[in-house]
Homo-oligomer: 335 residues x 2
DNA sequence: AAAATCTACGGAAACGTTTACGGAGCACTA
DNA sequence: TAGTGCTCCGTAAACGTTTCCGTAGATTTT
């Protein structure tokens, strides 16, 4: 007997659906005997309430929608875990979607989340997104929005990020203090704020230490290992190759590492390398990767907390919140 | 104006909701003029149909529920990608949940998926699950179920797995042919079928090559790096330590690698190491990891295909399907 | 004995859709 | 002129819940 409803139970017991509903919710207004019969039958028939129907009448789904560029990226999956944990504890479900960094997908996902009537949305924006109508729409619809890591100033909503400027600064400063002279940066997609900020911190450190920033020491790549490998391959073969590289992320650093091996360049002797993220594999690489640590799990938790608070209290329409998490340098053997 | 409904549009245009619905669906029975007005107003008010309401009346959600033990595991995230891709192409959404290998969570998730009225469920069972009532319930409810990778014989449903026995055999055989004499296995959680099968293949190879299987060369661990590290640490310090290890997964191999480094054991000279999975970082490790390759993306695709087919044709209640994907050995420097 | 209170339940509206059915208005045919 | 056939639209039921309100009958209070 597939998919039993409250009506079926009412009919079988010769009572009204109202009574069944009350019995299932342990309300006062129902005789113990009746309640018992209802509960037993519900159990026996494997009754499961329809969240669709409940959502319709309650105008609440207790669900938050989450969209990340990609899931097979440890940074994002840790954020997901952080967010899920506090959401679950508050009795909320989390629906996870991947934009694959494709703008059109992101728009479609947002539409679906609105259609699903989620109570709030957490998003890390796709790298190809340059139009933000779909996100600003959420404000008009009174759907709380928090952006994490990949945020945009053009969107109205809460923002939780790492201190990318600080991270870029720390990385460059460390390389400078190690006595490196030709410091390069393998940067990320240009329109992403995290790329801009990490580069910004990088440049700031150079300036503070009276070092010149050279355009030929800046290359761009996606966050994929293979693309980074290709980019690094080129960078390491210019006439005067760098003796240090700050990679915009650990995945990019992995590509650089691969390129260095391919070209038989010794790390850290001939090339110092600093990444960004502190992936779980970072200490296991050879050489182990010096990198900027970012608090991914905490970002997820904080995103959830802010979202839940604004879901619970829609009345307090204060200004969007901004939270910046500190980064720190983890020194290992690659630099 | 938050959350506009079809009723609002009807009222504002002084027409019935039926007409609005037809207009939005491009049905024949509506005047072009009217349709135009409806579409324009819907656009202007950012109307998004409620998937809850639609699901209620259509008794279909076009959604498939997916539950994995954990998301921050490249193997599973690749399966997710494979499944999502074919699902999306068929116009289906995917809801992703993590059991965190906790039985109680798994049960709760299944209940929620039933409540959400998903059209089908794909699951990789939690390692702590030994009671399968919650999964067998799905058959009674006519909800198609496919299990991937971590399957159980006690559950009625389709099964998509890697040829774990073959994989275990290939790994052991290779180590034997390399002339290793004291071959150990760092195995996975005992009640998981993948653990059993990989061990089974491992033992079969030993038998075929007239080598004895020694109990002291078998240790168990979870699939977490840290636990594996501890287990390997012990294993490598017994009186007559192994000269080769077959790790039940690459994550476990990472732990072994860490332990070997800690104990200053040279790989592959003093210890040969073979993993299982072929993670993206495997070739980047030092030494690069010899491992068994498994077709994670294809498993995801196939799971989706089978699920979609049985959702589309509930009438063909044939026997559950079983699909086994071939594995192969990828030789690198760790063995 | 009448009035007031309690207990346990049912009726019905509402949430946002889809869709089967019927019907008004009009033009055309015989 | 009456009948036929379109075109376009509205009515209403249904999906599975929750919840407000009303009420019959039993029990207690005056």
């Amino acid at each position: 007997m597939p998919q039993v409803s409250i009506k079926d139970i009412a009919r079988m017991l010769n009572i009204s659906i109202a009574t069944v509903s009350r019995a299932l919710h342990d309300r006062y207004d129902v005789h113990p005997e009746t309640r018992k019969k209802v509960l037993e039958l519900a159990e026996k028939l494997n009754y499961r309430p329809s969240s669709q129907a409940i959502g319709l009448v309650k105008r609440r789904t207790n669900t938050i929608g989450m969209v990340v560029p990609e899931i097979d990226n440890q940074f994002f999956s840790e954020i997901i875990n952080g967010l899920e944990n506090v959401a679950y504890q508050a009795g909320f479900n989390v629906m996870i979607f991947q934009s694959q960094n494709i703008y059109e997908r992101e728009v479609k996902i947002i539409d679906q989340l609105i259609g699903a009537r989620v109570d709030g949305i957490a998003i890390s924006i796709a790298s190809s997104t340059v139009d933000f109508k779909h996100l600003n729409l959420l404000k008009e619809m009174d759907i709380p929005l928090v952006m994490f890591d990949r945020v945009s100033d053009e969107v109205y909503g809460h923002k939780i990020i790492n201190d990318n400027i600080e991270g870029g600064y720390l990385a460059a400063e460390y390389l400078i203090k190690q006595g490196r002279k030709r410091i390069a940066h393998v940067g990320g997609v240009e329109n992403l704020k995290i790329s801009q900020q990490r580069l910004h911190g990088f440049k700031a450190a150079l300036r503070d230490y009276q070092m010149e920033f050279k355009e030929e020491y800046l290359v761009r790549t996606t966050f994929k290992i293979e693309d980074s490998f290709q980019a690094a391959l080129k960078l390491l073969q210019i006439p005067e190759p760098p003796d240090a590289i700050f990679a915009v992320s650990d995945y990019v650093a992995l590509g650089v590492l691969k390129a260095a091996k391919e070209l038989n360049i010794k790390i850290p002797e001939e090339l110092a390398l600093v990444g960004f993220s502190n992936l779980a594999v970072a200490p296991l690489l050879e050489p182990s990767l010096t990198t900027i640590n970012q608090q991914s799990y905490a970002i997820g938790e904080e995103s959830a907390r802010i979202l839940l608070e604004h879901i619970a209290h829609p009345e307090l329409k204060t200004e969007p919140e901004n939270k910046i998490f500190k980064t720190n340098l983890v020194i290992r053997n690659s630099a």
